[in-house]
């Protein structure tokens, strides 16, 4: 009888502990943080496009576009613009960014990809 009691109690404890481990709230929290970071990056890309304008991206030299990307970057946010497959040579993607996002824009004369990273501080 005592053996059965111990077995049942232990079994219940094991089930409860398994449930606690399985229902890990960290995973959805990390997903939320990731989605929030992507939203922030998309917002930053939107602000960049709004600031420079699509005609600028359609007609300017790669040097001018890279300069604008460098100006838009800061200590927590890095931009790169790839024009016809050629990125800004001086801009290197951070080794372990918090999040990254990119947007491809098909313009009449060229295809432009705007890449953005949230940088770890």
């Amino acid at each position: 009888m005592q053996f059965i009691d111990i077995a049942v109690a232990s079994g219940y404890a094991a089930v409860c502990l398994s449930l606690i481990v399985l229902m890990n709230p960290v995973a959805p929290r990390e997903a939320a943080v990731g989605a929030g970071a992507l939203s922030a990056l998309d917002s930053a890309i939107s602000s960049y496009i709004e600031h420079v304008g699509l005609p600028f991206l359609a007609t300017s030299s790669e040097a001018a576009i890279c300069s604008s990307a460098a100006e838009a970057s800061n200590s927590t946010l890095a931009f790169d613009v790839v024009v016809q497959g050629e990125g800004c040579g001086s801009s290197v993607a951070p080794s372990s960014p918090l999040a990254s996002s990119s947007l491809t824009i098909d313009l009449p004369s060229r295809t432009v990809v705007i890449e953005a990273w949230l940088v770890r501080q």
Binding site: D5, A9, Y12, A13, C16, L17, L19, I20, M23, N24, P25, P28, R29, A31, A32, A35, G36, L38, S39, D42, S43, I45, S46, I49, E50, G53, L54, P55, A58, T59, L103, T104, I105, D106, L107, P108, S109
Partner: protein, 262 residues
């Protein structure tokens, strides 16, 4: 001893149950938060896509109009019809980050307006080609963007009318056509049937015509010849607005005119 063991077991059961329920509650809350944030992220991505699609199809429209202007010279006596004949379109479709999208735009000459100052448009992503500009080629664009993301749960649909412009100087070209052709007709009509005097009159009036055209940002080429009968003379003028800053680079716009003296 047995009672203590039972009490300890019961306490453990209660504690573990509370822990499981608490964990499930936190998990559920985090799940809801993640779901909400992910929906919000899809919405922000759709807004970004919508912004870039509206801009890129509008640039397609402007690029087509620009191509038409640079490869089809206008006629002095047909400038209104010339602007009215412009009809362009642009479209884009595909998928980005799980969001399916289609965007299309059509544009034609903006309804006649007597603007005295530029009128803005909220499609600022294609500035300075957004809005009406007095004297320029103004286009009215009907823009439509549709996006569906999140497995169909997050959709965005936008249908708007915008005004776009290409900075060719239509009004200046029209007034230059009138004044230049009028001056050539007057000069060549003074001495009919005398080619020498007609050439002198033509040469005399030409520098002023060049100056007038240059003052309005045009280069001018003109010529004349015998009309072939009744001592009439034919004359022609070509006005070029060089280096117009278009949406996809600079281009030249040409306007031609001609006439015959009586």
């Amino acid at each position: 001893m047995a009672r203590k063991a039972v009490a300890a077991t019961l306490a453990s059961v209660v504690l573990l149950t509370v822990l499981v329920v608490a964990d499930a509650t936190v998990m559920s809350a985090q799940d809801n938060l993640a779901s909400t944030v992910q929906t919000s992220q899809i919405e922000s991505r759709e807004l970004l896509l919508e912004q870039s699609l509206a801009g890129s199809v509008s640039l397609q429209v402007l690029a087509q109009a620009q191509g038409y202007l640079s490869s089809n010279p206008a006629e002095c006596d047909g400038l209104p019809q010339y602007a009215g004949s412009i009809s362009t379109s642009g479209e884009s479709s595909g998928e980005d980050s799980g969001i399916a999208y289609t965007a299309n735009a059509t544009a034609s000459e903006s309804p006649a307006s007597s603007l005295e100052s530029p009128r803005g448009d909220n499609l600022t992503i294609v500035a300075p080609f957004a809005g009406d500009v007095p004297g320029a080629l103004n286009l009215q664009e009907v823009l439509s963007v549709k996006e569906v993301g999140g497995g169909g749960s997050v959709s965005l649909e936008r249908s708007e009318t915008h005004t776009l412009n290409l900075p060719i100087k239509v009004d200046f070209a029209s007034s230059l056509c009138t004044s230049t052709l009028g001056s050539l007709a007057a000069a060549l009509s003074r001495s009919p049937c005398n080619a020498t005097l007609e050439q002198d009159a033509f040469d005399a009036v030409l520098p002023a015509l060049h100056e007038d055209a240059a003052a309005l940002g045009f280069t001018l080429a003109a010529g004349w010849g015998s009309g072939g009968s009744s001592c009439s003379a034919t004359y022609w003028v070509t006005l070029v607005e060089p280096g117009v800053a278009g949406a996809t680079g600079s281009f030249d716009w040409t306007v031609r005119g001609s006439g015959t003296t009586a």
